[in-house]
């Protein structure tokens, strides 16, 4: 009985390669940070306040004509073109107290081009709204992260696991932010929702690996932490690849044909999920290993040095099966001939 497998059973020493991944991630994080500091973010009016008007002209229109018309009326605006639609987004950022003033001025200026147009969309965001929403979003985000650290710490008997899960999540979210900064894509509130999606998916992936480690500790009490982590990565590798592949392709479909509204949004998710697959597979286990090797090993895990001492006479707290549901497989270490140890 052969399965259709994209990837065969593997036995790669991911932990041995951890430094490579640390370097890669270090470079990515540094690049993101550099871009955020020097290039900054292209915040949308959701955050800066201001007015955006999207218009579609009934005849071909040159962006230069629009720019001239606006400048003549004393309006300082960013203009974005929608390819193939003869449509433009005219954006005036900054504090504006009067709701319709800027929109009216833009319309008046565009009428001077003498080409008829439709106003498709107008957004006005007052100065207090953006900063308030951003503050609330950040606060909710921080609280949600803290709750996850505590829960994961509780479920895996050590706060390190929770902290590592959040480190991975931070990696994925910050890389996405970095890419948006580098490409100067606009960050609006919908992108905040995308970042939340990335965070959720990142934690999900991390927990799958942790869960496997937790199980393997029970099955192989004598293994070193390196063996445990490597086996857990390899065993969950096909899951990680299949899930990530499915979700990433689905998101890519939305990116390419989902229309303009979903473009930036699906792009953010695409970047974040790709990063999430990578952190789940190799970065988090490497971080956990690095941490435990430093002596701060967890209650539930044996470090390399203490592996022989802690050869599993007493039940380990972290192997506890949770609730009734699991008691059925609170096992009896199974004999497993074809399992690979390194």
């Amino acid at each position: 009985m052969s399965y259709f497998r994209i990837f065969p059973k593997t036995n790669t020493d991911f932990i041995g390669l951890r430094k490579v991944f640390f370097i890669i991630s270090g470079i990515l994080m540094l690049a993101s940070l550099t871009s955020v500091i020097f290039k900054g973010m292209n915040y949308g009016i959701d955050f800066t306040g201001g007015t955006v008007m999207q218009v579609q002209f009934q005849d071909t229109m040159d962006i230069q004509n629009i720019r001239t018309a606006l400048t003549d009326s004393g309006i300082k605006a960013d203009i974005q073109t929608f390819v193939g639609r003869n449509a433009f987004a005219i954006k005036v950022k900054g504090s504006q107290d009067n709701v319709n003033e800027v929109a009216r001025n833009i319309e008046a200026a565009l009428q001077k081009t003498n080409v008829p147009f439709n106003v498709e969309q107008t957004d006005f965001v007052g100065p207090t709204v953006g900063s308030h929403l951003a503050k609330k979003a950040v606060m909710a985000f921080v609280l949600a992260m803290a709750a996850m650290v505590i829960y994961i710490g509780f479920r895996f008997q050590n706060i390190i696991w929770g902290a590592m899960a959040v480190a991975a999540l931070f990696h994925d979210v910050f890389l996405t932010i970095g890419v948006f900064s580098f490409l100067q894509l606009e960050v609006d509130l919908v992108i905040v929702a995308a970042l939340l999606t990335i965070a959720g998916f990142s934690v999900n992936g991390t927990i799958v690996i942790f869960d496997r480690v937790r199980e393997n500790i029970g099955l192989h009490p004598k293994w070193t932490i390196k063996e445990l982590l490597n086996a857990s990565i390899n065993e969950t590798l096909s899951r990680t690849i299949i899930t990530s592949f499915t979700v990433i392709v689905a998101t890519a479909i939305i990116y390419f044909i989902g229309g303009a509204v979903l473009k930036n949004f699906s792009f953010a998710i695409l970047v974040g999920l790709t990063s999430g697959a990578y952190t789940t597979m190799v970065l988090v286990p490497g971080l956990v290993y690095q941490w435990t090797k430093g002596g701060n090993y967890s209650i539930g895990l044996a470090s390399d040095e203490s592996a022989n001492k802690a050869s599993g006479n007493e039940p380990r707290p972290s192997v506890k099966a949770e609730g009734e549901k699991q008691s059925s497989y609170k096992r009896k270490p199974r004999r497993n001939k074809n399992k690979q140890n390194n």
Partner: protein, 468 residues
């Protein structure tokens, strides 16, 4: 009943329940836009249906801020906000566009969603007005009746703000005026208001005759004198309670009323409460400013929905096809679970009258991704068990048992986070958290419970193998 029968009963009830919950939404959206608008205007919009956010269907959304620095009196902020919202609602209702969601956001913000209005400036002007509460006597003489008949021949005798148009005003004789009531009927009234909102002190819900809810009100000293004169002079006539040029109700005067009175009628509790609020409302407690306004032309909203839906369907088909090819028969079972997942999620959203927005779609994507992951986890575990040469029933049993802890932990972690986001987030974050909270719940149900029910059913036929 054995365990399998119980499982299937649950699954079948869930499916029928979901279809029943979604049917009103299906019926609603298969109507033409004109039909929907007509029903909306008459208030016959079904309650428990899936709503589309303005980012997806076009329209205008306004965010108003109550200028709390100008609040006077001893009312709490909550009471002021409640009054402000009620006043805004009254004014927008005059615009005649059916049900408008008006909700409080945060401390001092009011969100107003105006679907389908591409140019909301008229609505904005209405919101900015000062409120006017008046008591007038309803006229019933022949002159009044004739005037109404004349006005009936006009297309629309009222301006958007409830006053008579120039053409209509010319037909109304001196000493008389005409206003519309909430149903749009014309009510002939005295042309002066003897008592106004300035004379009112308070209004509360109370119990009237036969135990029906009623509204009791108190007048201040000056008002009591005026009201006493007005009511004793107009016994058995109708007293119209008017807010912003719209007659709210016109109860019959039963006795002389001076400092306090009671308005009865066969009110429901909700109607009485609203009337009390309207009476208390009077003028806005403080000025409101528009601090955010987003207008999306209906064409753009439709376009974005069309391409978004098309892309989502293709993405969904990709997942189903891929799972079925990769995991064969078991992949088909997983796909069935995914389809049910979407069905149940939309049904729940319809039940909660949730509004689907772009961030909400993000929540659905994440919950679906996690449901796919749950299936992949189970199937990969099954393959592992199969590799060990286990018999089929054990492969399935162990596959589920071993995948469960990862599914449980990852979903619960995300669920905790999404609950917090729902609690503390605003706007788009909340929209995201709502669909995610529901989606995770549904996802675990379909990808673990439903698929297991399917396998258990298949196992009763004692198959040798199921392709995984």
């Amino acid at each position: 009943m054995n365990k399998l029968a119980i499982k299937w009963t649950i699954v079948i009830i869930a499916i029928f329940g979901a279809v029943a919950l979604l049917y009103p939404s299906y019926e609603w959206y298969s109507k033409t836009t004109a039909e929907r608008e007509k029903l909306e205007a008459s208030g016959d919009r079904p309650k428990r249906i899936l709503n589309l956010g303005l980012d997806l269907r076009g329209g205008s959304s306004l965010l108003l801020e109550l200028d709390v620095s100008k609040l006077t009196g001893n009312e709490s902020l909550n009471e002021s906000m409640q009054r402000a919202i009620e006043i805004v609602r009254n004014r927008i209702d005059q615009y005649g566009v059916g049900e408008i969601p008006i909700t409080r956001q945060g401390e001092k913000w009011i969100s107003v969603q105006l679907p389908g209005i591409a140019n909301p400036e008229q609505a904005e002007a209405l919101i900015g007005k000062t409120a006017m509460l008046e008591f007038r006597i309803v006229k019933t003489d022949n002159e009044a009746q004739e005037t109404i008949n004349k006005l009936m021949e006009l297309d629309n005798p009222f301006n958007p703000d409830g006053t008579l148009t120039e053409q209509a005003a010319a037909l109304v004789p001196a000493g008389l005026t005409v206003m519309k009531d909430k149903q749009g009927f014309m009510v002939p009234l005295t042309d002066t208001a003897a008592v106004t909102g300035a004379d009112l002190e308070d209004a509360r819900v109370s119990t009237g005759e036969y135990g029906y809810p009623a509204v009791s009100f108190q007048l201040n000293g000056d008002g009591a004198k005026k009201f006493g004169n007005l009511t004793s002079a107009n016994m058995k006539k109708d007293l119209a309670i008017i807010l912003d040029n719209t007659v709210q109700s016109h109860p019959t005067i039963q006795a002389r009323i001076s400092n306090s009175g009671q308005i009865t009628g066969r009110f429901t509790m909700e109607e009485a409460r609203q009337l009390a609020i309207v009476l208390r409302a009077g003028a806005l407690p403080a000025p409101v400013n528009i601090i955010e306004k987003r207008t999306i032309g209906p064409g753009l909203g439709e376009d974005s929905i069309k391409s978004g839906v098309k892309a989502s369907i293709i993405a969904f088909i990709f997942i189903v096809v891929f799972m079925s090819i990769y995991y064969r028969f078991s992949g088909i079972i997983a796909s069935v679970a995914l389809v049910l997942n979407l069905l149940f999620l939309l049904a729940l959203m319809a039940y909660f009258s949730a509004t689907l927005t772009l961030p909400g779609i993000a929540g659905i994507i994440l919950s679906l991704a996690m449901a796919v992951d749950a299936n992949v986890l189970i199937l990969e575990r099954m393959r592992e068990e199969k590799d060990k040469g286990q018999p089929l029933p054990l492969v399935i049993k162990e596959g589920y048992a071993k995948a469960w802890s990862a599914i449980f932990d990852s979903n619960l972690t995300t669920w905790i986070a999404s609950l917090l986001l729902f609690q503390f987030g605003t706007g788009p974050v909340k929209g995201f958290a709502l669909t995610l909270t529901l989606g995770l719940f549904v996802g675990v149900f379909t990808s673990v419970f439903v698929t297991r029910a399917i396998y258990d059913l298949i196992l009763t036929a004692n198959p040798k193998e199921i392709s995984i």
